[in-house]
């Protein structure tokens, strides 16, 4: 479905860009939500990531666009924005600490189920923020977003084997933080 997107983008950026947003907005938003110290800014940061991508694409020659791996490229952009945001926030001390992140309500479940799921998610989301880098990024990209290892390695700028070991160590650390009886 998304295989021909780089080619279509290289032929007509304006025509194909909306499809790029539709195809990857959930992945980009999920990363922003799970990696940001300010999850309430996740939508703004995601939108900014797509605007950066759009501006970059306007300046790229068609051949370069045609060869882009869009998903890892977009996720790299949003991760860079998040790093800049974190750096800026560290210069503004005592604002918000680690926040337990909850999922966005999709309005398709009952209040009881929602509360239960919400609870578990908030707890796990909170634990994720306790992971050190680069394990946190590795676990989020691999298991929350569902990225294949090849793309994970591309985003993290390391060999696949290294990416895998970041994931393994991240999961191990995460498990050690979870009390025995969870949901």
């Amino acid at each position: 479905m998304t295989d021909d997107l780089p080619l279509r983008l290289s032929q007509d950026l304006e025509e194909a860009f909306p499809d790029v947003v539709s195809a990857y907005q959930h992945a980009v938003f999920t990363v922003a939500l799970r990696m940001s110290a300010q999850p309430e800014d996740a939508a703004d940061i995601s939108a900014e990531a797509f605007l950066r991508a759009y501006t970059a694409l306007r300046g790229y020659p068609p051949q370069r666009i045609g060869q882009l791996q869009l998903r890892p490229w977009l996720l790299t952009i949003v991760l860079n924005l998040l790093r800049n945001e974190a750096r800026a926030a560290s210069r503004r001390p005592a604002e918000v600490g680690l926040v337990a992140v909850s999922g966005v309500d999709d309005g398709r479940e009952g209040p009881a189920e929602h509360a239960q799921r919400h609870d578990g998610q908030a707890r796990l989301g909170g634990l994720l923020t306790g992971l050190a880098e680069p394990q946190r990024t590795a676990v989020v990209l691999r298991h929350v977003v569902g990225l294949p290892y090849a793309e994970l390695a591309a985003v993290m700028g390391c060999p696949e084997g290294t990416a895998k070991s970041h994931v393994t160590r991240g999961l191990h650390r995460l498990r050690s933080m979870i009390p025995e009886e969870t949901t």
């Binding site: 304006e14 860009f17 947003v21 938003f29 939108a47 999709d106 578990g120 298991h143 929350v144 995460l174």
Partner: protein
Amino acid sequence: MTTVSTHDDRLAGELAGLSSPAPANFQDAVFARWVEVDGPVGALYVAFTDRGISYVCPTQWVGGEQDRFLDLYRSRFGRPLRPANRAPAGLAGALRSGKGAGLPYDLRSVGDFDRKVLAKTLEIPPGEVRPYAWIAREIGHPAAVRAAGSALGRNPVPILIPCHRVVRSDGATGNYGFGPQLKVDLLHVEEVNLEETRGLGRRGVHYVASDTTQVYCYPSCTHARRITPAHRVELANAAAASRAGYRACRHCRPG
């Protein structure tokens, strides 16, 4: 409820559950929308985002070519845009009345100084003009007259934020981003007494006063234009006004 075999699978499953769809209105934060509407002197292309109106371009400025407008917008704002089904609420009314102050604007691309200049410009009522120096003084930077002019030249939402109502102190209409003739045409539509203001300027007259109310104004001020010829006093500057014991009009605030 799925049954999971190992701790790893279960943890992986729970992590996958942390994935979140983007909010329903997410694309409104990425894409701007655009419409073509009737303006006071010809049609306009108007672009807007989820925050407000962000760009206005007379269609004649791009020779009526939609694609040139779209490209101008995309290069200036680095934002993709798509056609809108309808114009933003209040736009037609604001264009008809010449009162744009009530509309939401998206001025994220505009710096602090420029934003102050534009906010001040929004206060100038239709049918009146103010000098560049007035803007500079009113925003607390009386020496920044040229900077105020440059800020107006960069106004992304002309006509709605009426930078055409800011003119030179000598009564000449001055420059305009879309050419000086369009500025003159816009002021004529609003029935500004341009010729009179220019004539006064040429004779070194910058204010007019009433000898009954003892108030002095800019010549285009709605109060100045009500002064009957018998009671009308012409003044070169604020010093002459205060020597005569006149006070500045509270509506047009001439120095």
